[in-house]
Symmetry: C3
């Protein structure tokens, strides 16, 4: 299945609009090209709606948020929603400052995201705020999943085999409440909608030694979604497996004295060459 999802990215070459941070933006652009998509970056309120309209998907990343970009994110997101374009949120640093947390929650309140991707702590921050501020949704989660708000967000900041079931339950509930596929990346990755979760064991710790692995994954996820609009859960899982698998393979390629700069370059190169067969065979996941 993943084979076809990647083939669609390479064949359709979706154009992805990114409103993202200036730290990893170049890597995001190159990773989009590597996977078969094309990037456009635009963040001025005067053009974001038009740019989104000519694209096939939108990736919003709050990594270096400014007062000027927040309304642009909202405007572009609304246009993407209106056009039914896939919409990804990367809530970088949610929980680290009020501005980030509140902006992420505002985006979540006003937009319908196809995928929300963050680490456990960022996603927890979002879920806590979202459920606190949305009694209706909160109730519907409780109804559909039998949990309580308190339990929903009572998940560890780092996902291990021991707390995986609990984290899966949390992800499914937040997916049900938000309507988005929830992607939590870490030692084990979870990609969940309200009913089904991929638990993914690809990846390598070295991915945390470069800046932008998460940002690149979010951008690439938007490309997978844009090329596979009717399979958001599977597209999200395929993107996560692709990044993780490339991260593993690339670590093995590092020579003596090669470090995180080489690793970053090799990672993008590996995504450039990754074939559908390799992805299909290398993806290591179970469905819960």
């Amino acid at each position: 299945m993943f084979k076809q999802l990647l083939a669609n990215v390479r064949q359709k070459g979706p154009l992805v609009h990114n409103i993202t941070n200036y730290v990893t933006v170049n890597d995001c652009a190159n990773v989009l090209l590597a996977c078969g998509a094309s990037p456009i970056m635009a963040e001025d309120i005067g053009e974001v709606e038009e740019i989104t309209a000519i694209c096939n998907g939108l990736n919003i990343n709050i990594g270096t948020l400014t007062a000027a970009t927040i309304p642009a994110m909202l405007a572009a997101g609304k246009k993407a929603n209106q056009l039914q374009h896939p919409l990804v949120l990367d809530p970088v640093g949610a929980g680290a400052s009020k501005l980030r947390t509140e902006t992420a929650l505002k985006l979540l309140a006003e937009l319908r995201f196809t995928v929300i991707r963050g680490n456990a702590s960022e996603v927890k921050t979002l879920a806590t705020g979202f459920l606190a501020g949305s009694p209706a949704e909160s109730n519907s989660i409780a109804d559909s999943a039998g949990g309580t708000k308190g339990v929903d967000v009572n998940v560890a900041d780092s996902i291990t085999e021991e707390n995986l079931d609990e984290a899966v339950t949390f992800a499914k509930r937040f997916a049900a409440a938000s309507g988005a596929v929830i992607v939590i990346t870490g030692a084990i990755d979870i990609v969940a909608d309200s009913a089904k979760a991929f638990c993914i064991r690809n990846g390598h710790p070295m991915l945390s030694k470069i800046t932008g692995a998460g940002c690149m994954l979010s951008a690439m996820t938007a490309a997978y979604l844009a090329a596979n609009p009717h399979k958001p859960l599977e597209a999200g899982a395929a993107a996560v497996c692709a990044m993780g698998l490339c991260g593993e393979r690339v670590f093995a390629r590092l020579a003596a004295r090669e470090g995180n700069a080489a690793y970053r370059n090799y990672l993008i190169d590996e995504i450039y060459h990754l074939s559908g067969e390799e992805l299909e065979e290398g993806a290591r996941y179970e469905v819960r």
Copy 2:
């Protein structure tokens, strides 16, 4: 001839002011250093005129335009004009949004550019708007070249051997109207003033698989112009040949599993080592 033009860049080491996008800015800085020039990036209206004044050329790139940078581009451009510094416009994405198209046209209306460099579709967008808004220039083009405004911009979005003559005519006319050397990059590149066009067959399709090849070329063109102020046509052609030639040579160097990240790095490295002899021998062009 190209040999001497490159030698002048390396010997004079011009300082190039860039007001450019945040996606490829690091590559632009490193490519300027690679070719023998030095970069300064500055975009606040409070300093751009002073910075331009201490530089030898200015490169304006609208890749991630914001409301704040537009007046800075105009102010810096006017100062560059006043000091007779070479001035390059890279109208990234002109045609993709009103903001980009109108800003590019505003810059074109208020500033005298030495070189305008874009792909066929960006340059067409500019030419259409410029000629529509400037009846006088439009007439003079028609007078001098016998064409009409409608025909002028009736050029394909991708230049091939079949439509090359037509594209050359278009480029020369836009050069005559704007006063700038027009550089259209694609499978075949055109560098034209009103009388003469270099048709360049260097380059490699892999250049379109990295972000920033065009931005880097525009920055490097500013360096070539600054070091060769009295030969804008030849300097523009030399810069295009240099980028294309390096793009070819570098593709041959890629090992298995090396992709666009390696290609980007090798490209800058190749520009770093490119000798005048290599450029002279490797440049493949005809003059029409």
Copy 3:
């Protein structure tokens, strides 16, 4: 001694807040990861104080200053001072424009920096303005070091064996007046407090052929300071030696046709692998 200082960085993994330019920001983030620290970039006035508060050090770099970032730099700097976090200033381009010079001086007037790092000309610009505007401090320098204001800043723009003594005297005086450790990088590097100066002969001219060597050093200095808060002079010297030593070793590794892109990547990789023993053995300095 340097061995332990680096060990502390790797063991404590300090979180460093950077308000920096968009040209070299990705390299700054990766070099922080390479040396064992973690980066956060945040520049909106709405969050910089909170972000600084959760970090262990702050690095302010004025490389692409905008009107919006100046108040954020001041607010974050005040918070860092209040929390006694180490604070680094990289006055990129001070002297090149009024905006940069005045902003650097304003920062210097309102904040207490742990380290100020620039090239000779940037530091001279700062010292001149600082001493002119601060008669009290100026007098105290004259008192403590016997010099005059005119002499204080009468240092060459490039440090050589011939003018080294004079430059050391200048650095010590500016350190005394400002309360900061002064780091002047060039062919010979000086790291000085009011009493003692490390004269460092590590480094390689190729470091000036990449963009961001100075920015990366400033970011890394913040990490060394954060992990060694009671030894600012030694931590600054260790960071300078580490960057210079890696710059030397990496040059030797360059293959034919490898240029500044390879050099940048290798540099970060070398910092990633640099051991305390290698730093201790490779550091070449004398104390004056």
